[in-house]
């Protein structure tokens, strides 16, 4: 038993001989949970995950003997957990609408029985290593949970349970280890959140993560197992981008981590996801989704834990051979929690109050993304997508600038675009991806061989038009040639008909890869045809007056993913009109 020496907000100094750095503790009469983060002479500093109000010097402290860890087993999906993996629905049953302190709740349900089907290799006498698949249970209608041996397990199976219904506390196998001792395996195990879960090796990754958002998939793609950041000022659309990814991404499992953001955004997901269908599997979205929520009014230091708690659970499903997407909204709040603790510890701030280890902590987090060959011989991936909330929208601040160095896809949100209600407000100028080449094969094989060419053409057109707009803003539109005015016109078309995509539009919220390509191609063909006509002498005004552009702009929400034939109908109509114009002007040019 130790005792409290000093209380300074969420940082409590305790005296307890023999306590380890990183160890979990229970503090005071209420049994507040905390974690030792620093040893200083005879004392230990503890960051407490709950409010320390009313705590007094002299109250008792108990070390729990283990670091902050999570329970990994069936029953995670569909749940919402707090930053230290306590199920919020259970907490609500215990303490009502507000969260009281010192509650002890298991992450996984102890009473629920799961139907366990042993894997064929689960047989007496067989060797078992860490991460072996022992059997399966149907966790939700669409997800089969693969029960694995803990990563540090090694030995020989001496006994196992037959197929049947078990709770997670029941023993499903006994393993004799090399040293001769016997380990009991259950359907769950614990893992410390600050240690990445082991895997066999890195795997190559060139399959895109399809999100159904054109500006992301077509222009700034991410791969399964990739790392991306979404920075932007408040209200620019970071949460919407992440929610859209959580809804529509072609992943097996989605984990939504709300870190220091709004409670209502969590409710939005909890209430809307069960009613939505995964476009890839046709099943309810909630069957593959789970959430970690440390909202902005919840204690700050649990915010730091929430990200690690989340990514450890993501790795666990990866190890089962699944493609997992974890979105974290917002990593800036996580960084601020680091800063808060560093400040209270009196650590030297380096930039804007952040401690020197900010960059390495960020890197360590994103390092946990990747596609891997798992210990069980399968392939799985964790894709990490972090929102960044720069103060004042200034991308040169420490969290944004360090993150930018680490991630490979950068979806920069722009305030002017958001102010004009151009959503998603992803800037085509400031965003980048280093995966475009790697995914081009996939697009070529599965959608159209022209994908790369068309993508580059569109990006070039957009950047040319930005240049032209600058000229117009200096000297007026008269300075532009007809061809240049057509470029401006086409760029408006691309922005409105392709880049803008309302998450609230039932038809356009998810856009299939095929539709993405067809839309883009149609707009570019329209542009190309216009260029040809201008070269024949057609006045650009005449092209601008044509009635097609409104129709083209509405196409995304009038034509559904499975009705792409409608594109051709419009394309034909346009072709006929252009043919007439072409004929007219080519004749005029013939010398009489």
């Amino acid at each position: 038993m130790g005792e409290v020496i000093e209380i300074n907000g969420p940082i409590v100094t305790i005296r307890q001989p023999g306590i380890h750095n990183g160890e979990q503790v229970r503090i005071g009469e209420l049994g507040l949970i905390g974690e030792v983060i620093h040893l200083r002479e005879k004392n230990a500093l503890v960051q407490v995950y709950e409010s320390t109000e009313s705590l007094r010097p002299g109250e008792q402290v108990t070390g729990l003997g283990h670091p902050l860890s999570v329970e990994l087993g069936p029953g995670l999906l569909g749940q919402i957990f707090d930053g230290v993996q306590r199920p919020l629905n259970k907490i609500m049953q215990l303490s009502g609408t507000n969260i009281t302190r010192g509650l002890r709740v298991d992450a996984l349900d102890r009473d629920k029985k799961w139907h366990f089907i042993p894997h064929e290799t689960l047989a007496v006498g067989n060797p078992v290593r860490g991460g072996c698949i022992l059997g399966t249970v149907q966790e939700t209608e669409s997800i089969q949970h693969r029960i694995m041996s803990p990563p540090d397990c090694k030995g020989e199976i001496i006994e196992h349970a037959p197929e049947g219904d078990y709770t997670i506390e029941e023993i499903i196998a006994r393993v004799k280890t090399v040293s001769g001792s016997v380990t009991e395996l259950k359907m769950y195990h614990r893992w410390p959140v600050r240690i990445p879960r082991p895997y066999y090796s890195h795997a190559n990754t060139d399959e895109p993560l399809i999100t159904g958002q054109r500006i992301l998939d077509t222009f700034f793609p991410l791969v399964k197992g990739g790392k991306a950041a979404v920075p932007g000022p408040f209200g620019a659309g970071k949460t919407m981008v992440q929610q859209q990814i959580a809804r529509w991404a072609n992943a097996d499992i989605v984990l939504y981590v709300g870190c220091g953001e709004r409670g209502n955004e969590m409710v939005d997901i909890l209430q809307s996801f069960p009613k939505l269908k995964d476009p890839h599997s046709g099943r309810s979205l909630m069957e593959r989704t789970f959430l970690v929520a440390n909202t902005s009014n919840m204690p700050v230091v649990a915010r730091e834990a929430s990200i690690n708690v989340g990514v450890t659970m993501a790795e666990y499903y990866r190890d089962q051979g699944y493609d997992v997407v974890m979105v974290a909204d917002s990593t800036s709040r996580w960084a601020e929690a680091l800063r808060e603790v560093a400040g209270r510890l009196g650590q030297m701030p380096v930039e804007e109050g952040y401690p020197a280890y900010l960059a390495s902590r960020l890197a360590a987090f994103y390092e946990r993304a990747g596609k891997v060959n798992t210990l069980s011989g399968k392939q799985g991936s964790v894709s990490l997508i972090g929102a960044v909330s720069p103060p004042g929208g200034d991308f040169s601040e420490p969290v944004t600038s360090h993150t930018k160095e680490i991630i490979r896809t950068f979806w920069a949100l722009s305030k002017p675009l958001a102010d004009a209600r151009h959503y998603p407000s992803v800037s085509w100028l400031d965003s980048f991806t280093s995966y475009a080449e790697r995914v081009s094969q996939w697009w070529s094989d599965n959608v159209n061989p022209q994908w790369s060419t068309r993508r580059e053409q569109a990006l070039a057109l957009l950047s040319e038009s930005d240049e032209l707009e600058r000229i117009v803003n200096l000297v007026g539109p008269e300075a532009l040639s007809s061809a240049q005015r057509w470029v401006l016109e086409s760029s408006v078309l691309i922005k409105e008909a392709v880049l803008q995509q309302s998450a609230l539009d039932p038809v356009d919220s998810y856009c299939s890869p095929q539709k993405q390509f067809s839309l883009l191609e149609l707009m570019l063909r329209y542009h190309d045809a216009g260029v040809e006509l201008i070269n024949l002498g057609v006045p650009v005004e005449q092209l601008i007056e044509l009635p097609f552009s409104t129709e083209l702009k509405r196409l995304k929400s009038s034509v559904s993913n499975d009705d792409l034939q409608a594109f051709e109908t419009l394309a034909d109509k346009i072709r006929k009109k252009f043919d007439v114009m072409r004929a007219e002007y080519s004749q005029q040019r013939e010398p009489v």
Partner: protein
């Protein structure tokens, strides 16, 4: 409660007082301080160890000395006594009457810090509140349980706007009135009087609870005032089933008090000297708005803040915007053009609008009309910009249409009387009147059906 008074103050600086040799004091507890003249002050424990206790004194430490200061630890956190009798009353930041009437006596007492709402216990706000103001109802709709701040600046008519919202806010087809919790933080006497008279003349005074800390009242009390006010609001909403509208003005004064105490404590500053925890601290306040499962009442919150030097990237508006569910931004430029309310449309936003409007709530075209107005106004700003470069005469026909649209948008749609209570249908019809200045080809955000039904293009 302990009657023991300690005379162990070892040092005093700013609003902080250090005591040595007082044992086992609970963190966050309430403290009462008395000096030789018997003057009483309030404080709170903000750091506690066996050797030293640090107390923050709300009234400041002027005229206190080390010798003749007695400190009593009440052995309880800051609590507020709650009863329906609070309605019609006026209190200071720690809930003591300012109106000369007796204190509230009740067996119901709540810690003013509250405890965090479980996100799983929230219910998503989606009931449209009609404020009668076109820029809010039409473009940035408010819903019951939303926190929607007003970003203003000194000299801008935010008080008038808030008073108009308070007067006019109602649910369509629902006659229950809002109960109002009014929290004034560091405001001037004349502003305070303006609101009191407003409440009185509109006859709502008995439905208002006021918490006031005026410009010349102790600044540190501002740190606790919004918490006290919200404790009252939570009681009225979730225990008394009222729909509560909380107006807090001016959050900038709150944040400045926080910076002052943080500096005295030696906390590591982040931007502009504000402590790194300003975000979390503000969130503790703003996140107390909302709706809960199985509860009838709601807390809708309209905080007002003035942006220092009209700078929206200043930490106070910036961090507020990162927490609240949108913002209504006022513009000095429109104000100087005599547009009232001078709502700066592009940076204004309501995030909860999407679920509170449309076919079943307002009208089916509402979401598309709002988006179209934004797009058109933004395009019109480009035309205005161009006109300033090359002159309006040189503009193309289309650009001139946009200029006219922008002019009418500001003078007819944004601008309205401070007693003009427009229904949402009037607002939407007005929107179409303006969109009819633009040809159908320019309106790609609305549907063909919308155009047929509402667009009145004369083809010129």
């Amino acid at each position: 409660m302990s009657d023991l008074e300690h005379r162990k103050v070892s040092s005093i600086h700013g609003a902080l007082m250090f005591l040595k040799g007082v044992k086992n004091v609970a963190y966050g507890d309430r403290v009462v301080i008395r000096n030789k003249q018997g003057g009483r002050r309030n404080g709170q424990v903000i750091k506690s160890s066996a050797e030293v206790v640090l107390v923050q004194v709300f009234e400041g430490t002027d005229n206190l000395d080390l010798e003749n200061t007695w400190v009593r630890f009440l052995d309880e956190p800051f609590e507020l006594s709650l009863s329906p009798d609070m309605l019609g009353r006026n209190f200071n930041g720690i809930g003591e009457p300012r109106d000369g009437r007796p204190p509230i006596i009740s067996s119901i007492q709540r810690n003013v810090n509250g405890s965090p709402v479980n996100p799983a216990a929230r219910s998503y706000p989606r009931e449209f509140i009609q404020t009668g103001i076109s820029t809010i109802d039409g473009l940035n709709s408010l819903v019951r349980g939303q926190k929607l701040p007003i970003f203003s600046g000194s000299g801008l008519p935010h008080n008038k706007l808030v008073a108009q919202i308070v007067r006019q806010a109602k649910l369509t087809g629902d006659s229950t009135n809002f109960v109002i919790v009014f929290a004034a933080i560091g405001v001037s006497h004349s502003d305070a009087r303006f609101f009191e008279q407003e409440f009185e003349s509109s006859g709502v005074l008995r439905n208002v609870v006021m918490f006031m800390n005026l410009a010349n009242d102790p600044p540190m009390e501002r740190l606790i005032l919004p918490r006290t006010a919200l404790t009252a609001a939570e009681y009225l909403a979730f225990e008394q089933d009222h729909h509560v509208l909380v107006v807090i003005t001016d959050m900038t004064n709150y944040a400045e008090a926080l910076r002052e105490i943080a500096t005295e404590k030696g906390d590591v500053p982040s931007r502009k000297g504000y402590p790194g925890y300003l975000y979390s601290d503000l969130a503790e306040i703003y996140e107390r708005a909302g709706r809960l499962h199985d509860h009838h009442g709601s807390i809708t919150m309209i905080p007002v803040l003035s942006m220092p030097s009209d700078d929206i990237t200043h930490p106070i508006p910036d961090l507020t915007g990162y927490i609240t569910e949108g913002q209504i931004v006022l513009s000095r430029e429109l104000h100087s053009k005599s547009v009232y309310p001078p709502v700066n449309v592009p940076p204004s936003l309501s995030r909860l609008m999407k679920d509170g409007i449309g076919k079943d709530d307002t009208r089916e075209d509402h979401p598309r009309v709002a988006s179209q107005l934004y797009a058109a106004y933004s395009r019109a700003m480009d035309s205005r910009n161009l006109a300033s470069i090359i002159g309006a005469e040189e503009l193309s026909g289309r650009d001139r249409q946009y200029l006219e649209f922008a002019r009418r948008f500001e003078s007819d749609f944004v601008n309205q009387g401070s007693n003009e209570d427009r229904s949402i249908i009037e607002t939407l019809d007005l929107a179409w009147e303006l969109l009819s200045l633009l040809p159908p080809a320019a309106l790609s955000r609305v549907s063909d059906e919308d155009l047929q039904k509402y667009h009145n293009w004369d083809g010129s």
